[in-house]
Symmetry: C2
Subunit: 341 residues, 2 copies
């Protein structure tokens, strides 16, 4: 049923195959996803022209709606999803957007999902406050539903995300960043919100599967982030045909490098240290380090770890009834492992 046994090919699926896979797993909740979009529009509506302009931009770049999909599928695993799943899914996506807006502001990013970021289109100040607006709008939605357990799950995830981000900004020396540090970071920054999304979904029609779905979401989130970090080593930028290595350029240490560092020759390690000593590493040194990480088995190791988390995510679903939604949740695991950037 799933492709979890085999490691995905380094290239993953084609972008088209990836989009098709997403469409298939979203099919059971397609109509409700449209309602989520409408709910998000209603929630951010205001008569302040600037806010309206920014909201329109954000809605246009809102991406794949993967987290709302998780909420809706989780709420449907008993085939009796409740209506309130829709505003809760909208709240989860708004919180995700708020996080992206602040991350882009903090990183001074110019592009996100191929579109200009708010901080490049408007300015940094405005992005900071717009992120706050999106977050408190999400909370208004949650409060309107009035489910304290959902609120608890999401505010806990938000706190974890901010602590994760602060740990990252605190910046211990990059090359001293351990595997445990890395797991703690991605658990806080990525897995916590996916776990909360699935947990909240379960509260709308499948509350007896609450813990199982939270565990599924957490393991899926770990798989998601490790795969994301792998893509940075393997995915060719469309224009240059070489891996982009953006993380290395920004001195971000992720699992492939952490794994490789423990196994490489002193000469290779020296190359890595040189890259991290350079303020703006050049393409050739990035290419060299990507080659070292690949040859030392760093990518393979990270793929193995991602597969273990994927298997753990699938195990969490074992106790669930065999419904269309459960099948789509299983397919989500393969989608996450095999997708492109």
């Amino acid at each position: 049923m799933t492709a979890l046994g085999a490691s995905p090919a380094p290239e993953g699926m084609s972008t088209l195959a990836s989009a098709t896979a997403l469409q298939r797993l979203q099919a059971p909740v397609r109509d409700k996803l449209d309602e989520v979009t409408e709910e998000m529009w209603r929630a951010v509506a205001t008569d302040a022209p600037l806010v309206a302009q920014m909201s329109a931009h954000l809605m246009a770049m809102r991406g794949k709606m993967f987290r709302p999909t998780l909420v809706l599928l989780s709420s449907s695993v008993n085939d009796r999803s409740e209506k309130k799943a829709v505003p809760l899914a909208a709240a989860v996506e708004l919180i995700h957007l708020a996080t992206l807006v602040h991350d882009d502001a903090v990183d001074h990013s110019v592009l996100r999902r191929g579109m200009p970021t708010l901080n490049s289109l408007f300015n940094h100040q405005i992005s900071v406050i717009m992120g706050d607006f999106l977050y408190s709008t999400a909370l208004n939605l949650l409060v309107a539903v009035g489910n304290i357990a959902a609120l608890r799950a999401l505010t806990r995830a938000s706190t974890e995300m901010t602590i994760g981000e602060l740990r990252q900004l605190a910046g211990t020396k990059p090359l001293e960043f351990s595997e445990d540090d890395y797991f703690a970071l991605i658990r806080a920054k990525t897995a916590s919100l996916m776990s909360a999304a699935c947990e909240i979904g379960s509260l709308c029609g499948a509350s007896e599967h609450n813990e199982a779905l939270a565990r599924y979401g957490e393991n899926l989130g770990m798989t998601f982030q490790i795969t994301d970090d792998l893509i940075d080593y393997t995915e060719a930028a469309s224009t240059v045909g070489k891996p982009t290595g953006i993380d290395l350029r920004e001195h971000k240490v992720t699992l492939p490098l952490i794994a490789a560092l423990g196994r490489m020759t002193p000469a290779a390690k020296k190359k890595v240290e040189q890259l991290f000593a350079a303020e703006t590493p050049d393409d050739s040194s990035i290419g060299e380090v990507i080659a070292i990480v690949t040859e030392t088995g760093g990518l393979e190791y990270a793929r193995g770890v991602a597969s273990s988390y994927a298997a753990e995510a699938e195990r969490a679903l074992e106790s669930l009834p065999d419904t269309v939604a459960r099948t789509a949740l299983i397919e989500s695991i393969s989608y996450v492992m095999e997708r492109h950037a």
Copy 2:
């Protein structure tokens, strides 16, 4: 009983008199304010060293705890305050701190309450995420109390504050900023949280006075902000002995100037326009515009408006029983009108 009938002297109380007035109005809830501080400490406690460091700094600069005082006094107007007022008061102050941290980050401010801001001590990025951390920590506290009405009041106020800030950042031409724009702005940025503070307090032992206390808080907040904006025209910086005019320097238009603009001579208006055309206005042009605003009756007008809001705040308390807490709420109005920066 109150000094509302008379306009406060331009100089307001001495700083010492102001501190004494604050102590007196906080006396009925002194012990509980200490509990609020403890609750805030517990809430921000984390094992991330950077977060701990920043929290310590923020707790040190946490100021007068005026909003928690409003929560506690409002909850005590029937002499039967409930325990949950303490965590709710802590949440209100944390939200206030989160707002200050983001405001300072957005404005690149260096000092706040005589202490270095987080963005000057650490950096801008860290302040943005630290503000998020404080806000979600506040929400965790609110969720733990589990009162949906309190959550609703605070998330609504947060949304209003962000929309207010965004309207300000959208920056219509400063000199076209109308009195209505000004009132809408300070209602969103200042009055909304004070209103929510009083409303939330009422939910802990005085819910039948819910609306009256929300109205009191809103009018108190309007008084508070107009007075704050007046101080910028009247208060001498301790070193130079002249009004600081920071708002004018930053091209911020507040009520005294708006009122004066409608009455001044074309020649005077030209001076104002020159100040707003200069990227960094010099002290002499700031001094000139302060003199124009004063002579044209702008300060007097703003004081009159502040007094009307103050009187409205006091009227809102009429239906309340005659308790120590109610007296302290009335005293809070004079304190707000007569305080220093």
